[in-house]
Symmetry: C2
Subunit: 235 residues, 2 copies
Amino acid sequence: MKHLEVCLTPALLPLYDLKGSIVVVIDIFRATSSISYGIDNGAAAIIPVASVEECLSYKDHGHLLGAERNGEVVAGFDFGNSPFSYTKEKVAGKTLVLTTTNGTHAINESKNADEIVIGSFLNLTAVCDYLVKQDKNVFLLCSGWKNKVNLEDTLFAGAVVNKLKDKFDAWCDSSVLAEDLYLCAQGNLNEYMKKTSHSERLKKLGIEKDIEFCLNVDILDSVPVIKNGQIVRSS
Amino acid sequence: MKHLEVCLTPALLPLYDLKGSIVVVIDIFRATSSISYGIDNGAAAIIPVASVEECLSYKDHGHLLGAERNGEVVAGFDFGNSPFSYTKEKVAGKTLVLTTTNGTHAINESKNADEIVIGSFLNLTAVCDYLVKQDKNVFLLCSGWKNKVNLEDTLFAGAVVNKLKDKFDAWCDSSVLAEDLYLCAQGNLNEYMKKTSHSERLKKLGIEKDIEFCLNVDILDSVPVIKNGQIVRSS
């Protein structure tokens, strides 16, 4: 039986060996939700880059450039990581270049993996079905918030554990913890997330609609994967 | 209102500022449980040291020397971190020198704190009452297992959050997560811990009785604190 492990923040990655595994990168608010939505809406590719400077270096390629830091669109960029910037009208057929505070950082930290998949509640079942088919060890990497553990990424990891625990050996302590947290929250994810309403990072103006959108379960059926450094729809 | 934060493993400590805070070091299986038991049983002091070599350097001081690595007593030492080595008969009036895989590491990593307290289920309420009296920010530091997150330390952090959340601002995501995990498990901590029965680290011969003992709640009323590098009973 293949293993499934959960890593609650990229800061803990040095403790794990990703070789031979599929890594699912998780940044529910909002990078991996928006990437999943963008790919499902027909974006040709999304190029994840680590820095704002690297993003700007794509200026003359005719791509759409997105940059988010600390939850806000970086000055001079057209969009950040709000899912509503990734609609069909905006991204179909286009290539996007994107840098975010946590999500693209986690993607970059996963380079040793055999394969990288982008996960979100929006495509939960599609991602799980894809993982079962690949028949490899699975590593769920929560992006967290500036390397701290966050609730929403842990909840998603728990949702995947809950769906896959009969098909994988998923008994690491972080898997058990994530699944039980998900079982506490699954009845109403949006209500559950209000527990962190004191958190500065979720109080930002206008992000409430984004949060609500990112907690929709299974409204997409595509699975974004990384091929040659670009996020594309898995074939 | 003072803050209460939870740090799920020492690997995440660089993300936090401990200055001015009381740190509660948590290593439920088994260092901080055994230390609490030993102090309650009248040990004069327990000196936590980082390495086996440092522990050995106390050889000619007439102290009891304990060393544990990977869950086992280090060869040449009389005891490790089993609570049953910390009974009244064995430790009353004695000074112990102790090094363990996770717990003493976490203590050493907490040096920037204003004060360090040793926590365990055995003295849960006593520790919580002590924290309320000090009127400082509180930082719950889970020792984890070799820097990975573990269930038992997270559960204890959650128990403290649950007891203190009306008296402290305890809304960081890790606090919410720890408390909800504790609420899942509180009905039967011992049964809950069997969820990790696949975990190699808990399968070790003879540790079942230790685990059961370390999950007793409120059987002690003393609070061990660090003074001048030594763990002593708080006055």
